[in-house]
């Protein structure tokens, strides 16, 4: 269970991972201009006299994030790059998976300490902070001047690049992404004689099924649902109720919207009123799901490999149940060129290798995140398991990015702290959201100032 715990279930890990992008992996983005050539192609990207040749000498440092599998994939990508440009040394400061919020905080602290890298791997949750502080460069010029870039950008869904567009410019190149879907235990459904959930199922359908699956007591207690209790995992309830944590521009708190209260109250009721889900605090939902103790839960693509490794394959996925809207949330991870880099054109060239089809395919095979490149995400290998895997990329058209203003970590901690008060019965959900709205509004105000 060790691996499963690590990769899918620990509350902390999930919460963070969930933050969207978990992603991690690099995956997908672009194509490799001149890529598979072993002789060094002379390329010119970026501005100025930036022609790269086999003799170009430089050291490039990268701030990177992910699990062990990712590290191997990155190293293979660097090896391919070094075949073409043997005199460029790549230093990958690899931070093992924790969460994107944690990683963002670490990166920001390090840059503040004067240790800016050349390339940065960052998720949507941290992107606006870096952009607002001018720590990354827009990529538009590199793309415009690089004929090989078109193939890369054409293969990435606009919904993903849009997540990294600010002021009409593209600041990061998406490599992978994640969303939230419902996982359900196929065996438990079958044994209970319940049909697999339909694509357009509603909150009511969901609740009825959860109630039907909840049974037993003491050590035999089985729950219909395990709440994905982290910010990213809770946002789908808001979205499927036609609302969100912030306004559409991500500039003001929307927590005073009655629909927000309705959505979070629904989650509260699952635990406290209907008792179809165990208490959220300290619950290892991934372990309970794999052990057949909860019949449904929610994740992105990230726990699948862990489940398989632990011999658990009795599950499938379905879209999030809807109240007023059929939708879900997504988070995107991307590569950026740091504005303080002295070798920006080389950095861009490496980013293309990290987004090459080969690298993306390797990422998809490792299976943690959903590749940003459609051609890979829709490949038979990626869609093989679980059987409804098409909904991962399929959900993108209707889904929305997790609200990620520059003060994202504040947004996340404020909301989760106050929700915690309500979920633990210390206060009512209404009061918790009122307090959260006041605090979040102050934080959003500060952002403007």
């Amino acid at each position: 269970m060790g691996e499963l715990r690590r990769s899918s279930s620990r509350r902390n890990f999930l919460r963070l991972m969930g933050a969207g992008s978990v992603a991690t992996l690099l995956a997908a983005c672009g194509s490799n201009s001149g890529g598979s050539n072993t002789s060094a192609p002379a390329v010119n990207s970026g501005s100025g006299d930036n022609t790269l040749t086999a003799d170009t000498k430089a050291t490039i440092s990268i701030f990177n994030f992910g699990g062990d599998a990712d590290k191997e994939i990155y190293n293979a990508a660097y090896a391919r790059f070094n075949k073409r440009y043997p005199n460029i040394t790549i230093q990958d400061n690899f931070v093992p998976s924790g969460s994107w919020s944690e990683f963002t905080n670490k990166v920001t602290t390090q840059i503040a300490g004067g240790q800016a890298p050349d390339i940065i791997n960052i998720a949507i949750e941290g992107a606006r902070l870096l952009i607002s502080k001018n720590l990354v460069d827009p990529l538009d010029d590199y793309i415009a001047q690089d004929p090989g870039a078109k193939e890369l950008t054409d293969d990435v869904d606009p919904a993903l690049t849009k997540a990294f567009e600010v002021d009409g410019k593209l600041w990061l190149m998406p490599h992978s992404w994640n969303n939230m879907v419902i996982y359900y235990n196929t065996k438990m459904f079958k044994e209970a004689g319940i049909e697999p959930p339909k694509e357009d199922w509603t909150w009511d359908d969901f609740l009825a099924i959860a109630k039907e699956l909840t049974r037993g007591s003491g050590a035999d207690q089985i729950y219909g649902f395990g709440v994905p209790y982290f910010n990213f995992g809770l946002v789908p309830w808001l979205l499927t109720n036609g609302t969100n944590q912030l306004d559409d521009a991500w500039t003001a708190s929307n927590l005073d919207d009655p629909k927000v209260l309705e959505a979070y109250s629904f989650v509260y009721d699952l635990v406290h009123t209907h008792k179809v889900a165990p208490a959220v605090e300290g619950t290892d939902t991934g372990a309970l799901f794999a052990a057949g103790k909860v019949a449904m839960s929610g994740w992105g693509h990230w726990p699948i490999q862990g489940f398989i490794k632990n011999g658990f394959r009795d599950f499938d996925v379905q879209y999030w149940p809807r109240k007023t809207a059929g939708t879900s949330v997504h988070g995107v991870g991307g590569w950026g060129v740091c504005s303080q880099s002295k070798n920006k054109h080389i950095a861009w060239e490496i980013i293309k290798e990290l987004c090459s089809k080969e690298t993306i395919q390797a990422t998809a095979d490792a299976g943690v995140a959903i590749p940003a490149r459609r051609s890979v995400a829709e490949s038979p290998e990626f869609l093989q398991f679980p059987s409804n895997s098409k909904i991962f990329y399929g959900s993108l058209k209707d889904s929305k990015p997790v609200p990620s203003p520059a003060n994202f970590t504040d947004v996340e901690t404020i909301i989760m702290r106050h929700l915690g008060e309500a979920m633990s019965l210390s206060t009512s959900m209404e009061n918790a959201l009122k307090a959260a709205h006041t605090e979040l509004s102050a934080s959003m105000e500060k952002l403007k100032g």
Partner: protein, 307 residues
């Protein structure tokens, strides 16, 4: 001239043993002193400086005078997290030190050596386990609906206890784990102290007709007061800075119910990037720890007996 004077100067320095020893002494403490200045005094001075600014680490700092300190007194969260920290400190120190002392006294009596080793190792073992691992296991034990403790309580028909989700339960739960984890360390220090008590005192007291309680109360206890004092100071400073066990077990929740002052400082500094405000809070903690340590030393004079 230089040729003549230099050796004579050297000779004069080297000639005096006392001076030579003094120089050697300073040279020996120099590395520690430099380390102390660079890694302790330097950051403290920097923190004091930063605490008068508004500073997000990415833009230049802006001087704001005492604003951070004024805001700090108006911030209800500061009072909550200080309250939690003090509650935790009082209970964790008393229990860790108290139970550690009891365990040490129980082990420090005549019994076969192998038993002694087994007991000592058993009680000390949790100290050696990485906190993150043990916290994950405790989280599993404490879970309200699927946890081990509540399962056994349910067999006794006792209603499930919200160990980690109940406002009034969460800090005691963390303290229980903390005591399990750390009391072995207090025990080990006490054992060392107990073994330093000369046997003759006990023999003399026994000749005077002392019973076991008398021996403990009038011989053991007074003679281990320096150890007791040491343990109290060490555990108090550790408890005031508690961070990782709470971080893993509850993340500070529910709400702020189990958040400690150091967790709050970290949140402000490295999540909200309010370095100035975080520094101001850190300075208050520094002052609190200093005052409490001084107080302990002052009060200690009346009850700590050095031989």
């Amino acid at each position: 001239m230089a040729k003549v004077q230099a050796p004579s100067l050297t000779r004069r320095w080297l000639a005096n043993d006392r001076q030579r020893e003094a120089v050697a002494g300073y040279l020996f403490i120099l590395p520690t002193l430099i380390g102390y200045l660079v890694f302790v005094i330097g950051p403290i001075i920097a923190a004091v400086g930063i605490s008068f600014t508004q500073y997000d680490m990415l833009s230049p700092a802006k001087f704001v005078g005492f604003d951070n300190y004024i805001n700090l007194f108006k911030d209800p969260r500061v009072w909550t997290v200080y309250g939690n920290t003090v509650f935790f400190t009082v209970l964790a120190v008393s229990l860790n030190v108290g139970i550690g002392l009891i365990l040490a006294v129980m082990i420090n009596r005549k019994m076969p050596d192998f038993l002694k080793y087994i007991f000592r190792t058993t009680y000390f073992f949790p100290v050696l386990v990485a906190l993150v691992y043990s916290s994950i296991i405790w989280q599993f034990l404490y879970q309200k609906d699927t946890g081990v403790f509540n399962y056994y309580l349910s067999l006794l028909n006792i209603e499930a206890i919200p160990w980690l989700s109940g406002r009034q339960w969460v800090l005691p739960s963390i303290i229980i784990m903390d005591v399990w984890k750390n009391t072995g360390f207090a025990m080990l220090v006490f054992l060392a102290g107990l073994q330093n008590i000369p046997q003759v005192y006990y023999e003399a007291a026994q000749i005077d007709g002392a019973n076991r309680w008398h021996l403990f109360r009038y011989v053991t206890l007074p003679l281990i007061t320096p150890t007791l004092f040491f343990n109290m100071i060490i555990f108090m400073i550790g408890a005031l800075q508690v961070f990782d066990s709470i971080m893993v077990l509850t993340g500070g929740g529910p709400g702020d119910a189990s958040r400690s002052i150091v967790m709050y400082i970290t949140e402000k500094a490295f999540q909200s990037f309010e370095m100035g405000y975080a520094s101001a809070v850190a300075i208050t903690l520094f002052i609190v720890i200093m005052l409490m340590t001084l107080l302990q030393f002052r009060v200690g004079q009346s009850w700590v007996h050095y031989e």
